[in-house]
Each structure stands twice: as C-alpha cells, then as structure tokens.
C-alpha cells in the first residue's frame, strides 16, 4: 500500500507543481491521468526517491520514502519519462549493467537473465547492437526491460507507451498486467486509452491537484445516457457549442463529428446516443475543473 499525504512541491518561480496530494494506492495497477504539466512526473519522481517534496509524506508499506529514499530503491522499478543509455554499450551490456546496479540476481545468472528480459521486450535480435543505433521505440523497450527486472514491490512507469507502435503497446500492456498481479504498479500517462485498458482504478490530476479517484467503469457509468454523438457543419458548430456542452469534436471529410454531453433532456436534432467513453469522462472532468478555476 502506498499512502500519500499532503504532498506539496513548489519549484522556484514559484511554480506549485503539486498542491497537496492525498492518495492511497493499493496493490495492483493504478493509473495517474492528467495533461502535460499537471504534475504527474513530479509525483513520479518523488515516489521514485529522486525529488524532494516541499511538504508531505509518502509511505510504502510503512516506510517513509521522503525521509529515506534509499530504502525504496531496492524495491523499486522505475521507467522515467525521459531517460537515456550509454551509447557505446550494446543493449545486452547496458541491461546487464543496470541489473548489477539494481542488485538483481537470478538462478541462471545475470547474462542469461538479461537475454531473457530482452526476449520479453522483443529486443533479442538487437541485443548485441550498440544502443546508439536503437530507435526510440527500442530504447523504450530496453527501459521497460530494466524497469521490470528484479522483483520490485513498486513499479513506476511514466508515459511508458511513448514511442511504441501499436503491436508493442499491446505487448507492453500484457507485460504490465502480469507484473501488476502481485505488486503495486503506478502508471502515469496522458493517454486515456492506456488507463482505460489497464487500470482498475485511476486518479485524475490537473495543475497539481487531485480531481478525482475512481475506476473506468464508474466514470463511464456516471455518463450513462448523457453522451450523444452527431455531425454538424462548421457553420453551425458555434451555435451548437453555445447551446450544449461539447465534449470534443474532430473534422472528418469537411464536417465536424461532435460528441456532446446532455445531462438531461433530449439531445439536439441529428444526435444519437453514444456509449460513454472514459475519454468523455476525463474531458468533462477537466472542463469542469477549468470552469471552476475560471
């Protein structure tokens, strides 16, 4: 169990990246959803013991991470948002080095373990090539391999699917699901689909504040029967936006496909009921927060 109480982080400026986060995260996969600049990475770095908060506490199974970050490292797997490797090493050598730094051990020895992990992330063929020759997706997979190595009690993955193609993303989802069966996995992302697919529970963070903690099903359930979808011309869009709450719109073949939220009453003409998506809930929540702040 990860307990976060009153976590505040203020950067010089001042910039309040976190404005008092209270959160309890149980074992399993937990998503942290929010736009860019919302404070997700700041929170991840604090949990990984790489950033000192301004105030607040974080307990992992009773261990104070803020006071003793070194105690969490032996139980941590971490995939940062931005990272790199030594370009002159091969993927296998780089992973082997990280396994040694992390104090990982396996019955078959570390070189075999490194090979097996690379196999897990589909890098076996590129294992002996210098990392400098890897594509962005290959580097991301190597990062995933080092993050899942060992037996981390806490796995923090920050924007893990960036740079991955759809096949690799599916593979990663499976990996993450397997890993999350018996440990706490914290997934930070701005991609709603990731949360929708993987996370039984998630929190929405925006401008350093926690907006809500819920599950994808519950979030969708709350919008049941209130989401409608239709198409309007660009000329009529402004009138529509003034009359109802537009969740989002996108241009397709010259006309705007629009999803709207009508809490009660009939929808405008031409709109039909649509299954609410997690994305709808997220966007509405963000919009509500924006309106409240304004």
């Amino acid at each position: 169990m990860l307990q976060i109480r009153g976590l505040v982080k203020v950067y010089p400026g001042p910039i309040a990246a976190l404005q008092g986060i209270d959160l309890d995260i149980p074992t399993g996969l937990f998503g942290l959803l929010g736009p860019n600049g919302s404070g997700k990475t700041t929170l991840m770095r604090i949990l990984a013991g790489l950033l000192e908060p301004t105030a607040g506490s974080v307990l992992l199974d009773g261990v104070d991470i803020v006071a003793h970050p070194e105690r969490v490292r032996a139980r941590l797997g971490y995939l940062p948002q931005a990272f790199g490797f030594y370009p002159h090493l091969s993927g296998h050598a780089m992973l082997l080095h990280l396994l040694r730094l992390k104090g990982v051990d396996a019955p078959g020895g570390l070189p075999a373990l490194a090979s097996a992990l690379l196999e897990q992330v589909n890098l076996a063929d590129a294992a002996r090539r210098p990392v400098s020759g890897y594509s962005g997706g290959m580097r991301q997979r190597l990062g995933i391999a080092q993050a899942i190595a060992g037996d981390p009690a806490l796995l923090i993955v920050d924007e893990p699917t960036a740079g991955l193609d759809p096949e690799e993303r599916v593979r990663f989802y499976r990996l993450l699901a397997e890993v999350a069966e018996s440990r706490l996995v914290l997934l930070s992302t701005h991609i709603v689909e990731d949360v929708a697919t993987l996370c039984p529970r998630f929190a929405v963070i925006r401008y350093g504040r926690l907006l809500t903690t819920t599950s994808p099903a519950a979030a969708r359930q709350r919008l049941e029967g209130t989401v409608f979808e239709g198409a309007v011309s660009r000329d009529h869009y402004a009138a529509l936006a003034g009359a109802v709450r537009v969740i989002h719109s996108h241009l397709v073949a010259g006309e705007l496909r629009v999803r709207i939220h009508v809490p009660s009453g009939p929808p405008p003409q031409g709109f039909v009921a649509a299954l609410p998506l997690l994305e709808d809930a997220y966007l509405l929540l963000s919009d509500d927060d924006a309106r409240a702040a304004a």
Binding site: K9, V10, Y11, R45, A48, L50, L51, E52, P53, T54, E70, R73, A74, R75, L76, Y78, P80, A82, F83, G84, F85, Y86, P87, H88, H97, L98, R100, L101, K102, G103, V104, D105, A106, L113, A116, L117, Q120, N122, L123, A124, D125, A126, R129, S132, G133, Y134, S135, G143, Q146, I148, A149, G150, D151, P152, E167, R171, R174, L175, E178, V179
Partner: protein
C-alpha cells in the same frame, strides 16, 4: 549562405558563451597573468648598478613579450574548450533534429558558431588589453613607479592584434574543427594539450646545435604563438637595453609569414569542414555515422541510413509474450553492498576508458614526453648526466603531473557528466546502488587509469635507462616515484574534480574551475610561495639521490602524501554530501542552511576534516619552526637589525688554529662539537670585546676563554664575549666552545636541497657556510639563499686569513670521514671509528664529509664513492693522479700526502675543492656521461684538482678580475692537462667547449673587460672562467710554453705566502717579464683582458685553379668582429684513400677588425677545405662559419646574410681541420 542566419547563430553563441563559466574564468586567469607575468622576462636584464639603465616595462618589446607569454598560458585551454564544445553541446541538448528541419545551411551554422566563438574571444582580448594598459601605465601615472617608455597605444594594440589574436584564433579554430568533425569531447580536449606541448617542446625554444637555418625559419613561420620568432629574431641577440626601450618592433617577412600561416591554416580547415561529408549533414551525430565499425556493418548489411534499427524478426511476426514467463525468471533484487556496487561502477567505467582512443593516444604521448623530459638536462658544468632510475623519474615529475592532471580533469569531468548528457541519470539514481559505491567506483576506475599511466611512464624510461652504458642501475625507484609518491596526488586531484562536478554540475564549469586550480597551483609555484602543505603535485620538491630514499625530505614528503590522502577522503565525503542523487527542494535547502541543521550538516563532515587539518597544521608549524621557516627568517632579521650598526664594521679576531672534537651521529642527524680556536687580534686597536656568529641549531653553546668559563651575550645569534682584559693588538686568546647541532633543523619549506647536511647516509659540512663552526665576527648579508643555508659572502669564514686545523671525528664504523689535510690516526672501538685530521699547511677553509663508501686508491690519490657509481671512477682516479703529478710540476709540488675526492648525495649539485679534500655531488663526475672522446669526467675532475693550487695554495684577493685567478686558471690548467694527457685534439675539443660556454653565457652588450669584471652579474663567470682560460692559452701561444710555465711557477712561489693574495695585475706583470716581445704581449692584454675583443672570420674564394700537381687557391679572409690576433688559416686536401693525414698548407695571418686579407696558396694537392684556426688556439665568434668548402662552386662562408648570432654554430666534433 544566408547572411541573417549565420549572424543569428553567432549572436546566440556569443550570448551562450557569455553566460558560461569558461569565459569568466578566462577573464580571471588573464587578470592574474597580466599581474604576474614578468613583462621583461624575455628581455635582457638592465644594469645592476644603482641608477643604471633599466628595462622599461611599457616598451614595445616588453609589451610584445608580455602579451605573447600571457596569451600562451591563458587562452589555449579555454579557447579550445569553448570552441570545441559548442557543436557538441547542441548535439547533447537534442538540437540536432530541430536544426536539421530548418532552412539553416550547414555552412551558416558552422560559420555562425565560429563567429560567435571569435566574438567571445575578442571580448576576452579586449579585457586583456585593458588589463595590460591599466597595470602598466597606472603606476606611472600615479607616480608610484618610474616612467618607462612614453605611453604609446600602438605598443599595446599591435601585439594584441598581430601576435595574440592570430594565435588564439588558430587554436580555437582547430579545436572547433576537431569538435565539429568528430563530435567527441576527448578528441577536442587533445587540441590544447598538443598545441601547448608542440610550442613548449618544439616551436618555442628547441634549437639543437646544427639545426639548419632554413628549418629554424620554417619553425618560426609555423609557430602560431609567435614566441619562437620573438625569441630568435628580437631577443636572441642582445641589442641592449637602450634599444629595447626605444625601438619599435622589427616585424620582418618571417613574422608576417607566420601570421598568414596562423590565419590561413585554420581557414583551410574550416573550408574543408564546411565542404566535407560532415558539413553536408553537419547536424548528424558523429558517433553513429562515423564509427568505422558501424559503417562497415551498414555496408555489409546493405543499409544506408544509420540509426534506423534493424528490422528484427519480431517485427515480421512477433512472437507473443509468454504469460508467466516473467515469474519463471525468478528474479530477486537487493541493495548491492558498497564494495560490490563500487566494483560494478568501476568495471563499467574501465570498459568505457578501454574503448576510448584518447586514452591510448594520451598514454603514448605521455611516454614520449617522459622520455623527452627525462633525457634532457645536463649537470652544472654543462655535461650530460647518466641517468639513474630515481633521477629520471624525479626529473619528469613536473611534466608528468601536469599532463596527467589535465587528462584526469577531462576524464573525470566527462565521467561525471556522462549520466546527465546521456539521460542515464534517472535510471542510475533510482537504482539501489549506494552513492558511496558510485563515487568509490568512479574514483577507483580513475585510479586504475592513473596506475596504468604511471606504469607506462616507467616502461617508457626503461629503454633510456637500460640503453645507457652500464645499464640504469636499480629500477625500483621507478615504482617508488611513479607509484607511491605520485599516485596520492592523482587521487587527490581526481577527488577534487569529482567534488567539483558534484557541486557545479556543469561540464564547462568543471573544466574551467579545474583549469583555474591548476593554473593557481602553477602561479603559487612560480612565485615561490609553495610549501609542503600546498605542494600537492610535488613540483620542485624532490631531489633523488642513490644514497638513500629522500634523506633530506623523507618526513615532510610522508606527511605531504598523508595530507593528500586525507584531503582526498574529505573531498570524497563532500562529494557524498553534494552528489545530486536526489534533487533537493529549494525551501528545504534554505531551511537546512539555517541554524542547527546547518551545524549538523557541517558536523557530519567534521570527522573527515580532522585528519587533513591535523596533518596540515602539524606540517605547517613544523615548517615554520624549521630552518627555512619564518622563525628562522625572523631570527635572521633580528640578527641583522640588532647587530649591523654596531658590528658590521668591527674587525673580528682572526683564527690561527682550530682544534675541535666532533661526534657525528648520522642516524640522529646530529653533530656534537667541542673545541677551541686560537684567535689573535690583528687590528691596530685593543679590543675589549669580540663577537662570533653561531648557527641557529647550535645549542646550547658553552664558552670558555683561556680555559675559564665565559658567558656570552647572545644577540640573536651573534655571541659577544668580553675578555677579562682588553685584547691588545697582536695578542692571542683561546676561545673554547661546545654545542650540539642538527643539520638541517626541521623540514625544508618546499623540498629542494641543502648545502650543509647530516642525514642517515652521510654528512657534508664546511666552513663555506655558517652552520658548521662558529664564524668570527658579524656576517653581513647572509641571505644569498633566502632561507637558512647561507653561504658566507666576501672573504669567507676567516676573513680570507689562513689557519691550521686539527679535527678529531668520531662516527659509526660504517662511515668513512674525510677532511682537510693529513689523516694522522685512526682508531676503532665499540662500533665507532675515530679519525684525526690535521691540516699541516695553512688553509683558508675546511670541510668534513662522511659516507658509506667504497674506496679506490692509487698513489697519492683516492676516490670515495657509492658502490653503485663505479662507471667513471677509474677515469676520475687516473685524472686525479695525472693532475696531481702534472700540476705539481707546472705550478708547485703538492704539499699533502693524499688528495681525496669524495662523493656525496645530490642534495646540492656542486663540486667544491677544499684543500686535499674535494667533494663532488653524485650528479657531477660520477654520473657524467657523454661520448668518451669528450672526456667530460676528466675535465670536471681536472678543474677541481686545479683549485688545489688556484684557490687554496695560491689565494686570490678581492676585486675586479680576481675570479680569473681562480676559475680561469682552473680551466686553463684543465686545457693543459688535456693537451698533456690526450693530445692536441682533446685540448682543442675542450677549448671549443669553453668557447661555446662563453658565447652561450655571456651578456653580449653588457660585457665588461675581464680585468674590470667582478663576479655576480649575469655573464661574469663566462668571462672570468671561460674567456679567461682561453686568453691564458693565447698568452701561452704568445709567450711560448716553457716561458709561460716558468712565469706561472714564479707567480705561485711568490704568492704561496698565505698572507699574500694575488691580483691579476701581479700575474700579468710576472708573465710580461717572460715575454720576448713585450709590446705584442701588451697588445694582447689590451685587446683580450682590458678589452672585449672577439674576432669573427669569414672566408671567400673564387674557383680553385689547377691541374695535375699544381693548384692555386686564392682566399679572402675577412674579420667582421673585433680584435686582431694572429690566426692560422689552414687549407686541407681530401683524406687519402689509403688512410693517414691529408695534405695541408698553413698560413698565419693577422686580420684587423673590419679588414680583410688576401692569401694566395700554391699547393701540390687539390684543396678541399680551408679553415681559420682549426686547432682552436684563438677565441672567436661563429667558429663553424670560418670554414669554406672549396670543391664545386665557390660561395661565401655561411652566415654573411644572417648578421650577428652569437649563439649559433654547433660545437660538434671537429675533425683534424
């Protein structure tokens, strides 16, 4: 090229550089150098007399040299760093993709970058200019310094624009090209190192004998710094202070050529860069495109685009992930131990270093430089020295430490910066490996690298050592010096750079501050302010002796090394505290800087600071209390202050006999003294009190007078005794004394040597200094050396009076003790040997030297030497025997039964002749090298043996020219001995050495006639010792050998009376009596002794005419120098095929200054060559040019178009002619 885009790039680069540490540190360095570089360093010194003409610091020449020197030491590193890293920086910041997607052309990008760098350096140069103007002109304006040359702005602007700017732009542009092309920081770092080495070792001063003139000029043209041109064209020939103060810079074609090359060469490189493959895709990473392995792999696979990743089998049909496979791996994770973690980190770093070409290249460069630095160097007589392992290793310490520290700075900065630059930091910092392990691992890897470099240094020396005749002796000192002695310095330095990088967290700031630290160390050393506490690189601190491991400086060295290690630990602790493992919160950090938390943080470091504080403090106090510390300096000042007025004019008592008993304990470094002087009042007045000066370490001193206890008034080292009754003129008094002494007392200030010492391997004591026996009277001006190892000035120990001495010396059995005179008794008992020495003859000084020696003897002579130094012993012994025999015949019979030569540790490189007891440091004679035909050991031994006569048996008075009677005569005697023992060829060879020494060391424009030369000013010894000896030979040629010998014998006999000290006038009067042509003698004396005559001959000849058995040669001999001696012009045929001497014809001519003589020689042989004075009977300038090859087209003697060049011309090994 778009005009706007390159300006945009340039402006941005300028702004970036102005915000960076290197620029501001460069300004600091420039300010420091401007304030500390001696503006007249390259210029000749001015007049030593008060009110004499002095060099003006604001003259064009002074400013040009000052600008050039300060620029060379300040700019290269910083300019290269800024220029080389500007493109690499964009690469690391990930700007590549963005820039590549804009219309920016590669040429605009590269030239814009270069322009920005140039603008930055231009600002630095303006700062340099302002600093020079301020520091040079302001004191004159304020009236605090005399006005030098009048202010002339062009004196400042021209050197900056023409000397500094091209050199700086050269090195910056080359570094920029290297950095832009390779994108490798280590390759870029090599540029300033290679540039500095090239200038220091080759371009600036390298000028071996025989260097072709055209090559010399070529080096001037390719030298971007301008230093070689300046040195060779402006300052090599001394034009005199008046000239340098007033004349503008004479910028000739060579100078302009060098400026063109300095600007053109980098321009060409830039053009190549812009047009090269790299320029077309300038923003691509260097590594992925330029790695040969990668390129070959791509070619083999048919791929052309780098970095695309290979199409893996998985992409064509990726296997599904096996569920549950992760659990099957059965991974466990725990925090690795500190040792384990350090090992992991160290291994990774070492592997990275292994792959770095820079490491291998630097190792090779270091080995080369070690050999170059190690083999260069002669002893004080100019003879090459055989190298021992310890000598060679110690000699290379300065260059090794500078280069290795520079290299380690680059390595450690890159090592510490790599995680940030590659983005690996978040992964590494989140891993459970401890911070201590990370830092320890990195330090360990750097120390392994240092160890490898030191092993390479040792390996580089092996061929040099083992290639010497007789091998290099024991090799273990290499391990001691390169290992135990130097490695702590590198550990300290690496720890410092690691701590620095954890604090500044910036590559450029780390490099800049590190460079500043090195320069600061250099400044401290050059200003003489370094001590054992601050000398972490041991510059100038160590002297190697084969007599023992650092016998003089062992203790402070050990403490210094312990201090280095303790500081390294402290810095490691600081690194631990500052290491950016966790990004600290600003508010939390502010809280931690206050009150109790700050104190707690400081206290955490306190245990680590304890050891260095204690060791450093103890060492500092020990130094200050020692013989080179402020305590001794204060005592010396008090001595002078309290006594100068009352006692400097007082006539001291004169010693008639010395009778002392000495107990020598080398292990304890002590000497117990008990004895007495018989002293006489030689003044005209009665003395109611008299004084003696004792050494600081002579304590406690107990006195007696005529056997009764006497109390002395101690006036800071001047002991004043009051007899019961005033001592009448001529009356005698017995003054007794006893004390114990330690030499030296305490550690040296910063290493070095000592001329008086008692160390576990032996002792060297003499009345040449004031630390052995009490010195009569007040000793004025003891400060020939700044710290307490004074050499008595003027007439010396007993005011020039002679005395008789009796010494009884007791020392451990293992030691042989030698002193002056005759050994009358030797007793052994209880593990000690007691030896009695008696002077027999009146002497002016005595010495005592002890050592664990092996002895080689022949009749009347003996050599006492270290068993490992046998190489030259036989030659030295034979020389002593021959010299004793010949000099006894030529001058007067040697009065003592034995003449001894003893070797002592090279704690002071010197050779000193005391009556019957000559002492040589091990670097002289015993380890003298050189080719056998040069007989260098023979020369140095003969010289010192000659001093038995010229200096001891026959003393010289004080006054102008009297040094000629000592040093000049000793060299002349050596000439005679060469002639007698080895023949005229050897004599001529030695004469050429003397001639070259004179020409190299004289002060060309300030030289005075020998008879007016006092010792002390630069060039005086060259006149008295070297010119003086050659003139004596010329006098011998004029008088004839028998007449000369008779005259000298007469002179010696007349002046054997110890109270009668000779003068040059008396010697000349004696010689003149023997002259059959007195007027010719007078002319010779007038030109060569009362004048500064120095002829220089040039030859020319039309084609030789002849055939068969008759040849006619017409030779014109011109004297473009001064003086008009008679010289032989010798024409020689080719060597006969069957061997033997070639045919020759000789004419003797007298050519006056500026005159020429035409000779017509008809010979039965075809002449090949004509030479003036091939047998070196006459001192001349540019001897090598006074020869002419007659075969082929006739041409002038080389050098007519070169003007005066007093120091050119190789002594070489002249053949018969």
């Amino acid at each position: 090229m778009s005009g706007g885009s390159w300006r945009t790039i340039a402006g941005l680069e300028l702004r970036t550089q102005l915000q960076g540490a290197p620029f501001w540190i460069l300004l600091i360095v420039l300010a420091l150098l401007v304030g500390s570089v001696n503006p007249t360093a390259m210029l000749p010194t001015g007049s030593a007399t008060i009110g004499g003409l002095q060099v003006a610091a604001t003259s064009a020449h002074a400013l040009a040299s000052s600008f050039a020197l300060s620029a060379f030491f300040a700019y290269p590193f910083f300019a290269c760093m800024m220029a080389a890293l500007c493109v690499v920086r964009d690469e690391e910041l990930g700007m590549r993709e963005l820039l590549h997607s804009t219309p920016l052309r590669p040429s605009a990008y590269l030239l814009g970058k270069l322009a920005g760098i140039a603008a930055t350096l231009g600002l630095a140069m303006l700062w340099h200019l302002a600093g020079m103007v301020l520091l040079r002109e302001l004191p004159a304006v304020l009236g605090s310094a005399p006005l030098g040359s009048p202010f002339a702005v062009w004196n400042y602007v021209l050197p900056l624009a023409l000397v500094v700017a091209p050199g700086v732009l050269f090195v910056a542009t080359v570094a920029f090209v290297v950095g832009a092309f390779t994108r490798r920081t280590m390759a870029a770092y090599a540029v300033p190192v290679l540039y500095s080495l090239a200038v220091l070792m080759l371009l600036w001063t390298w000028s071996p004998p025989g260097l072709p003139h055209w090559f010399d000029q070529l080096l001037m043209v390719i030298d971007p710094s301008g230093l070689r041109w300046m040195r060779r064209s402006l300052f090599l020939v001394d034009h005199g202070v008046a000239y340098y103060n007033a004349a503008p810079l004479a910028l000739n074609a060579l100078f302009w050529g060098s400026r063109v090359v300095a600007l053109a060469l980098p321009a060409i490189l830039v053009a190549i860069l812009v047009r090269s493959q790299a320029a077309r895709r300038p923003l691509e990473g260097g590594r992925s495109t330029r790695s040969l392995r990668t390129m070959f792999r791509r070619l083999a696979s048919g791929r052309t685009e780098p970095g695309a990743g290979s199409p893996s089998r998985g992409a064509q049909g990726p296997p599904l992930v096996r569920f549950g496979a992760l659990a099957d791996l059965d991974m466990r994770q725990s925090s690795p131990s500190t040792v384990r973690g350090a090992w992991v980190v160290a291994w990774a770093e070492l592997r990275a270093m292994w792959r770095q070409p820079a490491c291998w290249l630097f190792t090779a460069l270091l080995m080369f430089v070690v050999v170059e630095a190690g083999v260069s160097g002669d002893d004080i007589s100019g003879a090459p020295v055989l190298l021992t392992a310890g000598t060679l290793a110690v000699r290379t310490i300065p260059v090794v430490t500078v280069l290795v520290c520079l290299f380690l700075l680059f390595i450690v900065v890159e090592l510490m910066h790599r995680d940030t630059a590659t983005g690996f930091a978040p992964l590494a910092n989140a891993a459970p490996v401890g911070t201590a392990a990370i830092l320890l691992g990195r330090l360990a890897s750097v120390m392994v690298l240092s160890f490898v470099l030191m092993a390479a240094c040792a390996a580089a020396t092996l061929p040099v050592l083992l290639g010497q005749p007789g091998g290099g002796g024991a090799l273990w000192p290499l391990g001691l010096v390169y290992g135990a002695v130097l490695l702590p310095s590198f550990l300290l330095w690496s720890s410092f750079v690691v701590a620095l990088m954890t604090a500044v967290r910036s590559r450029t700031a780390g490099l800049g501050v590190g460079m500043l630290a090195l320069l600061g160390t250099g400044a401290l050393f050059l200003r003489g302010e370094m001590t054992w506490v601050t000398n972490w690189l041991l510059w100038g601190a160590l002297r190697w002796t084969d007599f023992g491991v650092f016998p003089l400086n062992g203790s402070p060295l050990l403490l210094n090394r312990m201090l280095a290690l303790a500081l390294a630990v402290l810095l490691w602790a600081v690194s631990m505290a500052l290491f950016p493992r966790i990004e600290r919160d600003a508010v939390g950090s502010a809280r931690r800087r206050q009150g109790p938390q700050r104190l707690r943080a400081s206290l955490k470091l306190a245990p680590f600071a304890l050891a260095p504080v204690l060791i450093g403090g103890f060492l500092a106090v020990d130094i200050e209390q020692g013989w080179q510390g402020t305590a001794e300096q204060d005592r010396a000042e008090r001595y002078f202050r309290e006594n100068a007025v009352a006692w400097s004019g007082a006539v001291p008592l004169v010693i008639r006999t010395i009778d002392v008993s000495l107990e020598l304990d080398p292990a304890a470094r002590t000497l117990a003294v008990e004895g007495w002087y018989t002293m006489v009042n030689e003044s005209d007045a009665a003395l109611d009190r008299f004084a003696l000066t004792v050494g600081r370490t002579h304590e406690p001193v107990r006195w007696t007078m005529d056997g009764r206890v006497a109390l002395a008034d101690d006036r800071s080292g001047l002991l004043v005794l009051t007899p019961g009754q005033p001592l009448a003129p001529g009356a005698e008094l017995t003054v007794g004394f006893s004390y114990a002494a330690t030499h030296p007392f305490g550690p040296t200030r910063n290493g070095g040597g000592a001329g008086t010492f008692i160390v576990p391997s032996g002792a060297l004591l003499s009345t040449r200094g004031g630390l052995f026996l009490p010195v009569p009277g007040f000793v004025d001006d003891q400060s020939e050396t700044r710290y307490g190892d004074p050499v008595l000035p003027g007439a010396g120990f007993n005011g020039g009076h002679t005395f008789q001495s009796r010494l009884r010396v007791r020392a451990p059995d293992a030691f042989i003790v030698n002193s002056v005179g005759t050994r009358t008794l030797l007793e052994r008992a209880d593990g000690y040997t007691t030896v009695y020495w008696q002077s027999d003859e009146p002497v002016g000084a005595i010495n005592l030297i002890a050592g664990r020696w092996q002895v080689a003897e022949r009749e009347g002579v003996s050599v006492h030497f270290l068993p490992a130094h046998t190489r030259n012993v036989n030659e030295m012994l034979a020389t002593m025997q021959a010299a004793r025999t010949r000099f006894s015949q030529w001058f007067m019979p040697y009065p003592w039964p034995e003449l001894r030569l003893s070797e002592y540790p090279d704690l002071e490189t010197n050779a000193t002749a005391f009556p019957s007891n000559i002492s040589f440091s091990e670097g002289i004679g015993f380890l003298t090298g050189g080719p056998p035909e040069d007989a260098l050991a023979f020369s140095v031994v003969a010289h010192e043996v000659a001093h038995q006569w010229w200096g001891h048996l026959v003393a010289a008075g004080e006054g102008p020219g009297t040094g000629w009677l000592v040093e000049g005569m000793a060299n002349y005697a050596t000439l005679l001995l060469h002639d007698a023992e080895h023949g005229s060829e050897a004599r001529a060879r030695f004469a050429r050495q003397l001639e070259q020494n004179y020409l190299d060391q004289r002060a060309v424009r300030e030289e005075r006639p020998l008879l007016a030369t006092l010792e002390g000013a630069p060039g005086d010894e060259a006149v008295l010792a070297h010119r003086g000896a050659l003139v004596l030979w010329m006098l011998r040629q004029s008088l004839g050998a028998p007449a000369m010998e008779d005259a000298l014998r007469r002179y010696v006999t007349e002046h054997r009376d110890p109270q009668r000290q000779g003068t040059p006038a008396e010697l000349l009067a004696t010689l003149r009596q023997a002259a059959t042509a007195p007027l010719a003698f007078d002319d010779l004396v007038r030109e060569w002794l009362a004048g500064t005559a120095l002829p220089e001959y040039q030859l020319s000849a039309p084609p030789v005419v002849g055939s068969g058995g008759s040849w006619r040669t017409v030779i014109e001999v011109r004297n473009v120098g001064t003086g008009s001696p008679a010289v032989d012009v010798v024409m020689v045929a080719a060597a006969p095929a069957g061997g033997g001497l070639p045919a020759s014809a000789t004419r003797r001519v007298v050519v006056g200054p500026g005159q020429k003589v035409r000779l017509v020689l008809d010979t039965p042989f075809a002449p090949e060559r004509v030479t003036v004075d091939p047998d070196v009977h006459v001192l001349q300038l540019n001897r090598d040019r006074a020869r002419l090859e007659l075969t082929g087209i006739p041409r002038l003697g080389a050098g007519l178009d070169q003007g005066l060049d007093a120091r050119r011309g190789a002594p070489g090994r002249p053949g018969p002619y």
